[in-house]
Amino acid sequence: MNEHLSGEMLSALADGECDPTERRYAHEHLQGCPDCSRMAEQFAAVRGLVGALGPQVAPESLVVTVLAPPRTLRGTVAYALRGPRRYVAGGLTAAAVAISVAGLAAPPQDSEPPVEVFVTRHVGVNAGSASGGEVLFAVSGR
């Protein structure tokens, strides 16, 4: 007994896509192989069901959305300000402005530079006997 027919072969057979040689070989195999015959019947049944489906019509809203030109900034703003969305957009804008103004009014987050640390680092880079940094050793408490 030859090996069973592959799924691809059975699918091609159901779709009528086999060449004459393949078709002859498949039919000869199916006559002697009940398993493959059953599978071939199932492939044929599925093909029949798909073929029986009528053409589907896309919803109009989907067609309009897909075919519509890309929205411009002005269009986006207009869309955001349409209907109840205008209140949400207005609220968010007002909040952003308020936060920015508060940030400008608040004192900046300054901190004292670590000058003494830097001076310590500086005297470490040249501490030979000819170092001119000797006086820097003497002055601390910056």
């Binding site: 000058v115 001076v119 470490g124 050793f137 910056r142």
Partner: protein, 342 residues
């Protein structure tokens, strides 16, 4: 004839005397200029070599301007490296330097450096920048020392006088001068033991902040007064990342630090208005800070009488822009919000 001779003779003698005087002064000047410059170079070469001499010494350092302060330095030097312990009141700073490793420990922090910069004394650069003249030798701690006056050619300012051991090149005394010619700092040898570096301390403090060599592509290659960029580093100071750019003029070292963020003025710094930019000068010699490009900048210099305007000119200045402030605030608000949520 006689009268004319009597009139002419003094004129000739006078002319001769003037010529002789001019010639003599020319010879003297020539002799001074011809022999002192090479001699000064020789002393500078000796000083450069003396950086690896073996000795143990103590030095007294006094800063005479505001705020008056003093420190005692204990120096252990050998070919293996240098250790300096500086005590100024209750502050103690210690510096270890061996080839390929540097460690600095002070009250303000400790840094460890796997690639400390090589900032050797460069005689040719010193001679280019300064007019170096020698004075009369004298005795200091039993050694014959000669004074080297360093007059900066750019502004003809006497900035330093070094008393150098004629034999070894060790600087026995260093005097720094202010713009009025007044002495603003002095560092003098208290005692000196030759031939032995002595026992040095070992570091047993908390974990050090590691300094890493870093790119310095945005650092100016050259600054005023002949300072050239030697190396760039990345370090952390009090939790703030900072860049450290090391400059040298062949003799002095100058550091520029850049750290993120805006600054508040440290106490005891006073504001200077320099050609439209705000710079704050610190107490003691050579410390200036300013803001620029959303960073805080700190410049530390050793050389006296520096014009800060020309030094800071290549660096950005000015406080944060309006946009930058709004951006910072939004970032801060976002940080608070995420903290609140998490």
């Amino acid at each position: 004839m006689g009268p004319s001779t009597s009139r002419l003779l003094p004129r000739e003698v006078a002319t001769l005397l003037v010529c002789m005087t001019l010639a003599a002064s020319g010879i003297v000047a020539g002799a001074t200029g011809a022999s002192s410059a090479p001699e000064a170079s020789e002393y500078l070469e000796k000083m450069a070599k003396a950086e690896h001499a073996t000795y143990r010494a103590r030095r007294l350092v006094v800063y005479l301007a505001d705020p008056q302060s003093a420190a005692v330095l204990e120096i252990h030097s050998s070919a293996d490296g240098t250790f300096v312990r500086a005590e100024a009141g209750t502050d103690v700073t210690r510096v270890w330097r061996v080839p390929g490793h540097g460690l600095t420990s002070g009250d303000a922090g400790s840094f460890e450096d796997a690639a400390p910069p090589a900032v050797p004394l460069r005689t040719d650069e010193v001679m280019d920048k300064y007019d170096v003249t020698l004075g009369e030798p004298t005795m200091m701690l039993g050694r014959s020392v000669v004074p080297l006056d360093l007059v900066r050619r750019a502004d003809v300012a006497l900035v330093e006088r070094l008393w150098v051991d004629r034999e070894t090149g060790i600087v026995y005394q260093r005097e720094l001068f202010g713009p009025e010619g007044d002495m603003v700092g002095i560092s003098t040898m208290l005692d000196m033991d030759w031939g032995e570096a002595g026992h040095t301390e070992t570091y047993d403090g908390p974990e050090t902040s590691k300094v890493v060599a870093a790119a310095s592509a945005d650092a100016p290659e050259r600054l005023a007064y002949g300072y050239r960029l030697v190396k760039g580093y990345r370090l952390e100071a009090e939790g703030r990342p900072a860049d450290h750019w090391v400059y040298s003029d062949g003799f002095h070292t100058l550091s520029v630090f850049r750290t993120d963020g805006d600054m508040s003025t440290p106490p005891r710094f006073h504001r200077l208005d320099i050609e439209g930019r705000e710079v704050w000068a610190g107490p003691g010699p050579g410390t200036w800070i300013w803001e620029g490009d959303s960073s805080t900048w700190v410049l530390v210099a050793e050389e006296p009488q520096l014009d800060v305007a020309s030094l800071v000119a290549p660096f950005p200045s000015g406080g944060p822009s309006l946009l930058s402030r709004v951006g910072s605030w939004w970032a801060q608000a976002w940080h608070w919000l995420t903290d609140l949520v998490t």
